[in-house]
């Protein structure tokens, strides 16, 4: 099937999780945090690459970073949150994908339907990870932002 023939609204709606279950939200956040981490990794490689230019180049790079002011630490805080969520949710996904855990066993569907793959265990896992990540992210925020007087 050629992509240009398909109804374009599908591509747009694939980015919007509203009206779906919490797992669909989790999928979207997982992807966004993944993109943030890839961006950070590339920036980090570029930054360390400056070491090859000697101490002056490194000092200039650091000066450029510090010139961002509070945004430097805010950026790091966002990266920390991304890494926490991506890692935590990644553990749930490994349990789902590699071991078939949290998905439930095949059942005989009885109306009103309630898919076990989106059932209680899955919801508990998603919300536990979200709560843990939020708690750690707040702690990371205190650690990173308190020193620069943002909070």
């Amino acid at each position: 099937m050629k992509r240009d023939q398909r109804y374009k609204a599908g591509i747009i709606s694939s980015l919007i999780p509203s009206k779906f279950s919490v797992e669909r939200w989790s999928y979207t956040v997982h992807r966004i945090t993944g993109v943030i981490m890839v961006g950070y990794l590339m920036a980090h490689i570029f930054e360390t690459f400056q070491l090859g230019g000697g101490s002056t180049a490194w000092a200039n790079t650091m000066a450029a970073l510090h010139s961002l002011g509070p945004m430097e630490m805010v950026g790091l805080w966002i990266v920390a949150g991304s890494a926490l969520y991506h890692g935590g949710n990644g553990i749930r996904l490994v349990l789902n994908e590699a071991f078939g855990r949290l998905m439930g066993k095949p059942i005989l569907p009885v109306y009103p339907y309630s898919p076990t793959s989106l059932g209680r265990n899955q919801k508990i896992a998603v919300w536990t990870i979200t709560a843990l990540v939020l708690a750690l992210w707040v702690w990371a925020g205190v650690y990173l932002l308190a020193g620069i007087g943002v909070i």
Partner: protein, 268 residues
Amino acid sequence: MDKITLRVTRSGGKRASYEVKYRKGMTVLDALTEVREKQDSTLGYRHSCRMGICGSCGMTIEGLPRLACQTQVSSLNTGTINIEPLHNMEVVKDLVVDILPFFDLHRSVKPYLIRTDLKERDQSDREYRVLTEEVEKFLQFDYCIMCGLCYAACPTAALDPFYTGPQAIAQAYRYMADPRDEGWEMRVNLLDTSHGVWRCHVAGACSFVCPKDVDPAKAIQLARTEILKKRILRKRPREGSKPVSPPVAGAAKEGVKPPPFDFGGARK
């Protein structure tokens, strides 16, 4: 609520609004039928059974892929209902999408029992025995009506047109779990690709919209574990169950004739 407004996305992306008189128990399909019969005979949509069995009336209603015949207007809690064609498929006309590529994906996973002994398959006078606990492993996935809602909801299918899709993978797993089937290895090889099971990221949208609780997300993860067993544990394909002679009435007690049919007086 006396009247409802249907905002239908028609061919070319234009939106048309229709006002319909609301009545208790009205489904979205009823409302569309009323529009086509009384207001606009050019409105295109597909339907057949009107009772959630054929799976033809799939469309995006209020942002979610649903069967129009099973969606009560009252359940939407709005006086203005937005209706679009199913996503991730080519539009033929208005709400009618080309579902053939979706059927091709279904066909690509060989959704039928595969037996290696062709003579046995074609000329057998015996039958395959399946235990109840074996049936329970695949029966849920057998309820698929191929409506395409899971494929339309899948964010991965939106971004990868070559993705096998939740419906086809669920059907592949349905036969992988069937003890009569001998195509396990063939299906594992079909799914073990970059556009196969590994493309799924467990968004769960397919299971969320499935009108029959087939739960494709579960089937995909179970298929993955099967593939990992082959790759890591070197699991070998099992042999399909052997055919057995069908039971003969009265054969248990030799010499005893089976009882005559009792029609309960219905034919008297």
